[in-house]
């Protein structure tokens, strides 16, 4: 049964490797958004250091939201999704494979890029490590929650904006604890509590996200 999971994962990754431009658009959006904030706020390092965790996290949240549209759209357009729905294996497992592949392509680059952006904001090494760790825990949760919205809005007019409306309120807890953990590290409070809750959210999203997405896909495709 796990075979189908790895098959889907391998297929989706292969598709992305064949068309590498997809890989960079989300990342470039993330970098540009984060770089815009100092231009809007001013170059004072003290202010920037203060807002850095929030800015990087909000940018990561928007970037992964924008990437959601691509999660099912291509497969929906060429009819692959219909075939996937017909397989005897559990659809939620298939969806989980797709989400993991999607995260590795859009979420993981954000995690790896974050410390460089953090340097622009003069964050300490400790805070940079924490930023990476929270993004590593948080972005998969964002992809899992976002997949529900992507599945619900499949093939609707104005799908992109609608996804934002559906998914952003649900992202709020992840944002709070992700940015909160970095902030707690900066102010020397310790971030264990934040990290535990972030981990708990990831587990919950891992449990319910694929199920809800699979159900939403069936609704959207019937």
């Amino acid at each position: 049964m796990l075979e189908i999971f790895f098959t889907v994962l391998r297929r989706d990754l292969l598709l992305v490797i064949r068309r590498r431009s997809d890989l960079f658009t989300t990342l470039v959006f993330f970098v540009i958004t984060v770089s815009l904030f100092p231009l809007g706020i001013g170059p004072e390092m003290d202010t920037l250091r203060l807002i850095a965790p929030g800015v990087v996290w909000v940018a990561a949240l928007l970037a992964s939201m924008l990437a959601l549209e691509r999660l099912f759209a291509a497969d929906f357009a060429d009819g692959t999704l219909e075939q996937l729905l017909l397989t005897p294996q559990p659809l939620s497992l298939l969806v989980l494979g797709k989400i993991l592949a999607h995260w590795m392509v859009t979420g993981l680059p954000l995690v790896l890029m974050a410390p460089i952006l953090g340097l622009q904001y003069d964050l300490s090494a400790e805070a940079l490590g924490m930023l990476m760790l929270t993004l590593l825990l948080g972005t998969p949760a964002l992809s899992l929650i976002g997949a529900i919205g992507a599945a619900l809005t499949l093939g609707l007019r104005g799908g992109g904006v609608l996804v934002a409306l559906l998914v952003l309120p649900l992202f709020v807890p992840v944002l709070i604890f992700g940015a909160g953990a970095v902030e707690a590290t900066v102010s020397g409070l310790g971030a264990e509590g934040h990290l535990s809750l972030l981990g708990a959210m990831l587990v919950l999203a891992l449990l319910l996200g694929p199920l809800a997405s699979a159900m939403a896909l069936r609704v959207s495709m019937e």
């Binding site: 529900i148 619900l152 809005t153 609707l156 007019r157 104005g158 609608l162 409306l165 559906l166 952003l168 309120p169 649900l170 709020v172 807890p173 709070i176 604890f177 909160g180 707690a184 809750l197 959210m201 319910l208 809800a212 159900m215 939403a216 609704v219 959207s220 019937e222």
Partner: protein
């Protein structure tokens, strides 16, 4: 009445429910009008002035019931939507769609009155207080539900997609509420707490309860009228609707 068994499933059919919805809507409308008039009179003229907050506190007679209703309606809406998803009953999903605008209205009303209350009490129209923030996010959840249903043309898909979203939302509401609360206590010191453990004057409590039941009746009345409209819209190709129109709209 007691010896007769009512077949409740009869009313799960839109045809049977339509006249009942009309009657329920009319009755609740009258109850709502009476209770809200009485409640407003009591809140303006009978309830005593608060010794700390002065006359400005009277807005809570609208604010608190509206906030309660906005939360309660979301749960009821998700319940109907879930029932529609599980049992595939059309009417349950119609009820969910009928409740959403009323819930959003109450959420907006609670935010608006909250701003009016906050200006004299806190000195600001908006404070990033945990309750305000979670009410705002609840309002966004309602908007998402309505936007999703509005953008799907096929009623069956709209019902089911909305149901999944409402159920995901209802799982998330407590998580959002507690995370916002924790975020708030971390970021700023204790904001002004309402009440502070002091017991309420009984007149104040009664006024609040009357207003709450008034809003409740209003929500039922409006939902029933809206569900009638949804039934007519979706069943417009059936014979019973045609006959209803011929008979001049009287069921």
């Amino acid at each position: 009445m007691s010896s007769r068994l009512i077949n409740w499933f009869k009313f799960s059919s839109p045809v049977a429910f339509y006249p009942l919805a009309g009657r329920l809507g009319a009755w609740s409308g009258w109850i709502a009008a009476i209770l809200i008039v009485v409640g407003l009179y009591m809140s303006f003229f009978v309830a005593p002035t608060d010794y700390k907050q002065g006359e400005g506190y009277r807005i809570i007679y609208v604010h608190v019931p509206a906030a309660w209703m906005s939360m309660f309606i979301y749960v009821v809406m998700a319940g109907w939507a879930g029932m529609g998803l599980v049992f595939n009953t059309r009417l349950s999903s119609m009820m969910a769609s009928a409740l959403a605008p009323t819930g959003a209205l109450f959420a907006f009303l609670s935010l608006w009155t909250g701003a009016f209350w906050g200006k004299p009490m806190w000195g600001a129209w908006w404070v990033w207080d945990a309750r305000l923030t979670s009410a705002l996010i609840l309002f966004f959840l309602y908007l998402g539900f309505m936007a999703l249903q509005a953008s799907i043309d096929e009623p069956r898909r709209a019902d089911r997609a909305g149901a999944i979203l409402a159920l995901v939302g209802v799982v998330n509401v407590p998580i959002i509420y507690y995370s916002v609360q924790w975020w708030n206590t971390l970021h700023q010191g204790a904001t002004i707490k309402m009440g502070g453990g002091a017991s309420m004057d009984p007149v104040m409590l009664w006024t609040m309860l009357i207003m709450t039941f008034g809003f409740w009746a209003y929500a039922i009345a409006v939902a029933m009228i809206r569900v009638q409209a949804i039934i007519l819209e979706r069943e417009r190709n059936t014979t019973w609707v045609t006959e209803l129109v011929k008979a001049g709209g009287k069921a």
